[in-house]
């Protein structure tokens, strides 16, 4: 019962957040909505017993990514809708009717295809008995350190690379005189 409630709640928050991200015209708000959506996803993880995943979701997204985005938003536009030297807004608008139109058409085409597939998938899916939810952390750790050790190591290099790369890219440089 509790699980079902949690699931419903999480699904609502997730989808609601996602939709809000779509329609929100304020970047800052959109970001907060995204946060909500991510929280929802964490809940959805929890519902299927993915406790570690849910925790990671919260820590990394809520604690890391979204905060980073908020910083970026604040760094890139505090001064309102000024026009820059190239004739465009400094902080771009959140879209207009034309873009929404194109986006809608694309989404519809895409949805049609996906829904068609999903129907097939769900039809073929046998009703299985759900395994009981058990703590996954220990098993995950074992799998990570044995079967997926290569991917694990590579991801560590990736993170390192991203760290250095981000630092190098965003560092302001002096204009070269040549």
């Amino acid at each position: 019962m509790f699980t079902n409630t949690l699931f419903l709640l999480s699904a609502l928050v997730t989808l609601g957040g996602a939709v809000a991200v779509v329609y929100s015209q304020n970047l800052m708000h959109a970001c907060i909505y995204l946060l909500a959506s991510l929280f929802g996803v964490a809940g959805l993880y929890a519902c299927i017993g993915a406790d570690f995943l849910a925790a990671t979701q919260l820590v990394v997204y809520a604690g890391g990514v979204v905060i980073l985005m908020l910083f970026a938003i604040m760094l890139t536009g505090g001064t309102g809708n000024n026009i820059n030297r190239y004739g465009l807004e400094k902080v771009a608008a959140m879209g207009n009717k034309k873009t929404y139109f194109f986006a809608g058409i694309t989404a519809v085409i895409f949805s049609l295809v996906i829904l068609k597939i999903l129907a097939n998938v769900l039809k073929a899916q046998p009703a299985s008995v759900l395994a009981a939810n058990e703590p996954t952390v220990e098993r995950l750790g074992t799998i990570l350190a044995t079967d997926h050790i290569l991917a694990f190591e590579i991801s560590s290099i990736l993170l390192l690379g991203a760290l250095i790369g981000a630092a190098v890219i965003s560092r302001p440089r002096k204009e070269r005189h040549d």
Binding site: F102, T106, I109, F110, V113, I117
Partner: protein, 720 residues
């Protein structure tokens, strides 16, 4: 006395280590290096003396030491191939060791005085040490391969010492000439080693003797020549190179570019004698190969020819150089006429008096800084000790009785005379004639040198007045006097055991001919009992059972023949005394009394004189004709052929063929393929890009739409 590594090896190794050490320290510690070098050879001398004394104590013909060790071993599986090195000491080696170390010690001592002011004082001793160790190694060798190794090492030292004054162009030429001429002989020597190796399986002296005794050489041929002759001639060519026999004699006079002490040591006393030593060691092979007459003729021509050239030389060292060649010729005659121990004795006596002569000449040169005899004269008063030493040596070399040269040379000439009168082969008559003729000339030119240098009035007063007065000095003229002492015949023809009387004409029971026996066909069977031992093993031979020393001059001859030979020997002895005095008298009347005018001779035989001055045109022939006109242009031609013709046409020609094919295909490629087909394609592509460029808008969202739609389409087609 025990013969172990520690009692024998130092003879070679001490000078060698002195060389190694000096090579590093000589630049900074010149004096120390010189002392080390001289001390090292003196220690060697003590070791050699010890061995000599031991051999004199045993006093047996058959006493020998033969120790070996494995140098390297290639045996693998069924293949067996080992190269052993070792020492072989018999009576001959013991004497030789004493001579080499003794002479080398005195020459080292002399050099400390003679070379003292030379800027390369220390370096000279470095070479000397290497040389003496190589020479001693050669003497101690038990096999031909190690003889060859040390032989070549000496060649290298000789090369370095002749080229000692390397800033002089002539020294460079002379050193190269010396090395190359001896190298001709060496190459043949190596061939002889290979030939012997193929028969015997190794090249140990004793094993070669055994093989000869067992008849292993019978019916073997190499290149259609009997193998014994083939190997014998090859080895003898080595001797001819090293001992400067005609026609390979050209290098020795030029070798005088080196400092005088090195001429004394290398080009008079030791290295050049090594060639004769080798031939003596290989005497059974020469005998088996029927080449004794050939050897005798070569020796005779050399002895006489070199003596004639010496007549017209004015450079004091050149006279000595030619006299060395001539004396080496006598030793070779000795081998050729079967006078084995006299030949070896002449090697020893010659080494002593020639070393002394060279050192005396060095003393003269050092004193007046000039080598030309016409500018000397009257130096007797300035250089009394040198004069005394040189006088004794001249007596010895001229063959005056009671002196060493007489003892040895007389015996060689006696044996030559025996063969000339009794042997069916008439060539020996020529050999005897050349031998006696050479003896006359020797006496003449040696005293000519002596008279021109020390007697008469000073011809160049400037030089005379600047000559240093001689004082007795331990390292200047004492070595000369010691050496000159050993020109007395007594030392060689005496008896050490008291068994026989001291016989100045050299016949019975004297130690030299008692101990040193010819390993001829009749005595080779002894060697089947000879056995080599590993170094470090216990000496198992019982000295008591050794053959007692008995001088057996007339072995296997009838009473009548022996008597006849004895008679001829006496005739020969008297003849050589007369000839020697004639020579001395002629020199006396020409240069002291001046009753005979040398100018008359030179003008009367002008063509001959010219030939002699030009050394019989050997140099012109070798260098001028064969090398300059033959070899070098041929090489040039060959090199041009290689690069200019062979490489250019035969190899790069392929490239031209390719280029031709390439030109055709290029035309085809350019006109048909490229212009027609390829460029056509290019034009159509250019048309297309006008259209396609619009797609590349750079708008990411546009791309994204396309991606999503295409993906959707793709998935659609997959799933239905």
């Amino acid at each position: 006395m025990d013969y172990t590594l520690s009692t024998v090896a130092p003879i070679v190794l001490i000078p060698f280590f002195a060389f190694v050490l000096n090579a590093f320290i000589v630049k900074k510690f010149t004096k120390l290096a010189v002392a080390i070098s001289t001390g090292a050879i003196f220690v060697s001398f003590l070791f050699a003396l010890r061995i000599f004394m031991d051999f004199m104590n045993v006093y047996s013909v058959g006493y020998y030491i033969h120790k070996t060790f494995t140098w390297f071993d290639l045996s693998a599986g069924s293949h067996v191939f080992k190269v052993n090195m070792g020492i072989y000491i018999d009576n001959m080696t013991a004497v030789m060791l004493l001579m080499v170390t003794g002479a080398a010690t005195l020459i080292h001592v002399f050099s400390t005085w003679y070379m003292h002011d030379d800027p390369r004082f220390g370096r000279f001793f470095v070479y000397l040490s290497l040389f003496t160790s190589a020479m001693l190694g050669l003497v101690l060798s038990d096999n031909l391969l190690s003889v060859f190794i040390f032989w070549e090492l000496m060649g290298f030292c000789s090369y370095s010492l002749i080229g000692f004054y390397y800033e002089k162009e002539g020294a460079g030429n002379a050193s190269m000439k010396a090395f190359m001429t001896t190298r001709v002989g060496d190459v043949f020597f190596l061939l002889g080693i290979l030939a012997l190796w193929s028969v015997v399986g190794n090249v140990t002296f004793v094993d070669i003797y055994k093989a000869i005794g067992a008849g292993a050489f019978n019916n073997l041929y190499a290149l259609g020549i009997p193998l014994a002759t083939f190997a014998g001639v090859s080895v003898f060519l080595g001797t001819m190179g090293k001992s400067a026999q005609v026609p390979l004699q050209v290098w020795l006079p030029d070798a005088m570019w080196g400092p005088t002490p090195c001429s004394a040591l290398i080009h008079a006393a030791t290295m050049v004698a090594a060639g004769v030593y080798l031939s003596l060691r290989m005497y059974p092979l020469m005998e088996l190969g029927h080449m004794l007459p050939f050897i005798a003729v070569i020796g005779g021509i050399t002895a006489f020819g070199a003596a004639t050239i010496a007549l017209v030389q004015t450079d004091i060292k050149a006279v000595l150089a030619y006299s060395t060649i001539s004396q080496l010729g006598y030793m070779v005659i000795g081998i050729g006429v079967g006078s084995y121990n006299a030949s070896f004795m002449h090697l020893i006596t010659h080494a002593v008096f020639k070393a002394c002569l060279f050192l005396s000449a060095g003393s003269v040169i050092h004193s007046i800084h000039c080598q030309e005899m016409p500018q000397m004269g009257g130096l007797r008063k300035k250089l009394p000790y040198t004069f005394f030493a040189m006088l004794l040596c001249c007596f010895a070399i001229a063959g005056v009785p009671f002196f060493s040269g007489f003892v040895s040379k007389d015996r060689i000439l006696g044996d030559a005379l025996v063969l000339a009168l009794t042997n069916a082969n008439h060539i020996y008559k020529l050999v005897a004639l050349l031998g006696f003729g050479g003896a006359f000339l020797t006496a003449f030119y040696m005293f000519r040198m002596l008279f021109l240098t020390f007697f008469g009035e000073p011809r160049d007063h400037h030089i005379y007045d600047h000559a240093h007065d001689e004082h007795l000095g331990w390292n200047s003229n004492v070595p000369l006097l010691i050496l000159s002492l050993f020109t007395l015949g007594l030392f060689y023809s005496g008896s050490f055991t008291g068994q026989g009387e001291v016989n100045l004409f050299g016949s019975k029971n004297e130690w030299f001919s008692t101990l040193i026996h010819k390993p001829d066909a009749t005595s080779l069977h002894h060697f089947s009992e000879y056995k080599a031992e590993e170094f470090g093993s216990v000496d198992t031979r019982d000295k008591v059972q050794l053959t007692p020393a008995v001088y057996d001059e007339n072995h296997g001859m009838s009473e009548h023949v022996a008597h006849e030979i004895h008679q001829i020997h006496h005739i020969g002895a008297i003849l050589s005394i007369i000839i020697a005095f004639c020579g001395i008298f002629l020199a006396y009347s020409m240069y002291i009394k001046k009753s005979v005018n040398p100018g008359w001779w030179t003008s009367t035989f002008a063509n001959w004189t010219k030939a002699l001055k030009n050394k019989y045109y050997f140099d012109d022939l070798y260098v001028g004709k064969i090398i300059q006109k033959g070899l070098l242009p041929f090489n040039d031609l060959l090199s041009r052929f290689d690069m200019g013709f062979f490489d250019k046409y035969a190899i790069d020609g392929w490239a031209s063929v390719n280029r031709w094919a390439f030109t055709i295909s290029k035309w085809f490629d350019n006109t048909i393929i490229d212009s027609g087909m390829v460029d056509g394609t290019g034009a159509s592509v250019r048309m297309m890009n006008v259209v396609l460029r619009t797609v590349q808008s750079g708008k990411i969202q546009m791309y994204f739409i396309v991606i999503v739609v295409v993906l959707a389409g793709y998935v659609w087609t997959l799933s239905f």
